[in-house]
């Protein structure tokens, strides 16, 4: 299957004859600052808005002075952890998705591809069905280990001979592993309705009801993954030109792919561990980032870092508000908030090439 069509059109901005103007650079920088401002705003909204009405000024006051009142408990014990989880999960999925699309040179790649999400799911199924674990905190390490194991297997399977994993083979290896794990999950769950009953609420993807301990567990992984990701921005730009051109430009193809795969595992594994499988963010946010910033990974990755949590937290706030007594899970809302925007963008402009 020709993924080559994508490859030949790929060109980072810094090609000879199309030097980046200083103006374009500063527009991107300002855009990033604006996006950061929006993120701060959405984060505050996520602390303020919820099923219980708390005036904005009260929210602001108890945020800084935990006076032990009921409002303070709601905000400090429920809303702050939830907002932080949304922030971290958003970063993990957005940056993980951007890395995945870059390393596979496939604009359709997302954490669902490459087996990461399915690895986490299979591991959670094992935890529920065979070990009787039913708390989110209990799932975290399982999900993470499952994501890591699946990633390693996919990477080994996708590695062509002595050289390194090629994009097309990575995608197919991901599809193969996903298929096998999906079969395993379904077989176990259909034979064990009690486990299915637990699993269906994890599978939908939610950031509600997570406490600070989940935040503390996943934050180091997201942080490490983010740093590793940003360090690979430049080599990934070279990789976008194709393996040979990239090598000619001095990129270490194998090392870059390996480090990127590690970063993807850290980011997506931790995100899925905390919130369950949320697929749309990792797919769509990098596209939006490329539409705004062009194909240069040194801009795509920071934009994804900021925009993905905006989508996560924004969707979560809307889900809390429109559901009334019954909240809509963030996994549903990201799709319903994000997909129309994504479709509109795809219609409006030619989506930026990788």
């Amino acid at each position: 299957m020709s993924l080559g069509a994508v490859r030949t059109e790929a060109a980072p901005d810094e090609t000879p004859g199309k030097a980046p103007s200083r103006r374009a650079q500063s527009v991107r920088a300002v855009g990033l600052l604006v996006a950061l401002g929006v993120l701060a705003l959405v984060f505050l909204l996520s602390l303020w808005i919820g099923s219980r009405n708390i005036a904005f000024l009260d929210t602001w006051n108890v945020l800084w002075h935990n006076d032990g009142s009921e409002e303070a408990i709601i905000i400090h014990d429920l809303r702050i952890p939830r907002a932080l989880i949304g922030l971290l999960v958003g970063i993990g999925l957005g940056v993980g998705g951007a890395l995945m699309q870059a390393v596979t040179r496939n604009p359709l790649a997302d954490p669902g591809i490459l087996g990461v999400t399915m690895g986490a799911s299979a591991s959670v199924v094992v935890a529920i069905a065979f070990l009787g674990i039913t708390s989110v905190l209990g799932y975290v390490w399982f999900a993470f280990a499952g994501a890591a194991i699946a990633s390693v297997v996919v990477y080994l399977l996708g590695s062509a001979g002595a050289s390194s994993a090629t994009p097309e083979r990575l995608v197919l290896a991901g599809a193969a592993i996903t298929a096998v794990l999906f079969a395993f999950n379904q077989a176990v769950l259909l034979l064990d309705p009690t486990a299915f009953n637990e699993f269906r609420f994890w599978e939908i993807g939610s950031i509600a009801g997570r406490k600070m301990d989940v935040v503390v567990r996943i934050a180091p992984f997201i942080g490490a993954g983010l740093l590793l990701a940003l360090s690979q921005a430049r080599p990934l730009n070279a990789l976008a030109l194709g393996d040979q051109a990239g090598r000619a430009l001095g990129a270490k193809i194998g090392t870059t792919r390996l480090l990127t795969a590690v970063a993807i595992t850290l980011l997506c594994g931790a995100a899925t561990a905390a919130a369950g499988p949320i697929t749309f963010v990792g797919l769509a946010v990098p596209h939006v980032a490329r539409l705004i910033a062009g194909p240069d990974q040194r801009w795509v990755l920071p934009y994804s870092t900021v925009l993905a949590p905006v989508l996560m937290l924004g969707a979560d706030v809307i889900g809390r508000k429109i559901g009334g007594a019954e909240e809509f899970e963030v996994g549903i809302m990201t799709a319903f908030v994000g997909a129309p925007v994504f479709i509109w963008l795809c219609r409006r402009r030619k989506s930026a090439r990788l």
């Binding site: 359709l108 399977l157 193969a176 298929a179 079969a183 299915f196 269906r200 749309f280 795809c346």
Partner: protein, 343 residues
């Protein structure tokens, strides 16, 4: 390479592709024979043939013509339909992931089916109709959203994925809000199953396949030209937009009809065309080999769930996932070893 030329139509026959196709056909026949003759009520090949002509042993008639034959035919037809559908979409979108599962047709069918199961509490036939309506409605919405002076493969797939995620979250929502019993029914439909499929499911698929697959084969010969890019295809005399529109429509209909009959059989549409392409080593997609590969994997998988896990009534989607996935993995490892030996 073989080249035969009749008066008006010319065929180009690739020896390797032909061998692969014949081998797959033989595989389908062998699996079919075994599936027809074994089981709780063993029959010889001769007895099966006699039964088909109305002269079999007593009791065989029900087993053969009501239980085994429709299920086998459903497997062959649904497998072929899904695989051709996936093959076309992968070629048009230029992406190994461009299968009907990914761009929303299957999720649209699933929404239709789940609404019938969970909200209206309908039976098997209503579920099929719900799935058919859901799949075709989704495709129409997708066309309207993606159409801008032509169906651009890449835009179609991207918008399809957007639409697909929305539909998927509708499904997740329905499943979490349903009672456990309904949720389990819905979930097992979502995996794709041939359990209890009778003539009422086979006949519509057979009609659709008889009309659509020849159409796909006729236009499909231009697919490898389309893969060269629109400009080159146009220079070679292919009307790119029209060809693409016809082919995508055929692909949608095949997927919708197959899904209505058997549910969204997991990974078949994605894996079977890839396997066929890897085996034939053809430059373009080979629809005949894909169709046979789909039929072979699905009948083999269905045989496996019936016999290997007998008594549990596991849906066939579990086996297609496992068999298709493991085979794809094996093929990748195999290539890896060969590359290593070569270099």
């Amino acid at each position: 390479m073989l080249r035969t030329r009749s008066e008006r139509v010319s065929f180009r026959v690739d020896a390797r592709a032909t061998t692969v196709a014949l081998a797959l056909l033989a595989g389908v026949i062998v699996v079919g024979l075994i599936a027809m003759t074994t089981g709780d009520y063993p029959l010889s090949v001769g007895e099966v043939v006699q039964t088909l002509f109305g002269q079999g042993p007593p009791g065989a008639d029900f087993v053969v013509t009501t239980l085994r034959l429709p299920r086998l035919l459903a497997g062959i037809l649904v497998g072929a339909a899904l695989s051709v559908s996936g093959s076309i979409l992968q070629s048009v979108s230029g992406n190994a992931l461009g299968s009907p599962d990914l761009i929303g047709f299957t999720n649209g069918s699933a929404v239709g089916a789940l609404l019938v199961i969970i909200v209206f509490g309908g039976g098997a036939v209503q579920v099929s109709i719900g799935a058919l309506v859901g799949g075709i409605a989704t495709a129409l919405v997708l066309f309207v959203l993606a159409y801008r002076g032509g169906v651009h493969g890449r835009r179609l797939v991207l918008i399809g994925i957007g639409l697909s995620t929305m539909l998927l979250s509708v499904n997740s929502y329905l499943i979490t809000r349903a009672s456990l019993q309904e949720a389990v029914t819905a979930q097992s439909w979502l995996v794709g199953s041939l359990n209890g499929r009778g003539w009422e499911q086979v006949v519509p698929v057979a009609v659709a396949v008889a009309v659509l697959i020849p159409l796909a084969l006729y236009y499909g010969r231009r697919l490898s030209l389309l893969e060269l890019g629109d400009d080159k295809a146009k220079a070679l005399g292919v009307h790119a937009d029209r060809t693409r529109l016809v082919l995508v429509t055929v692909s949608v209909l095949l997927a919708a009809v197959a899904t209505a009959a058997a549910g969204p059989i997991a990974f078949l549409a994605l894996a079977a065309p890839q396997l066929a392409r890897r085996l034939t080593k053809a430059a373009g997609p080979s629809l005949v080999a894909s169709a046979l590969m789909g039929a072979f994997i699905l009948t083999l998988s269905d045989f496996a769930v019936q016999r290997v896990f007998s008594g549990t009534q596991l849906p066939v989607g579990i086996a297609t996932g496992a068999i298709g996935g493991l085979y794809l993995a094996w093929l990748l490892v195999h290539e890896w070893r060969r590359n290593r030996a070569a270099g």
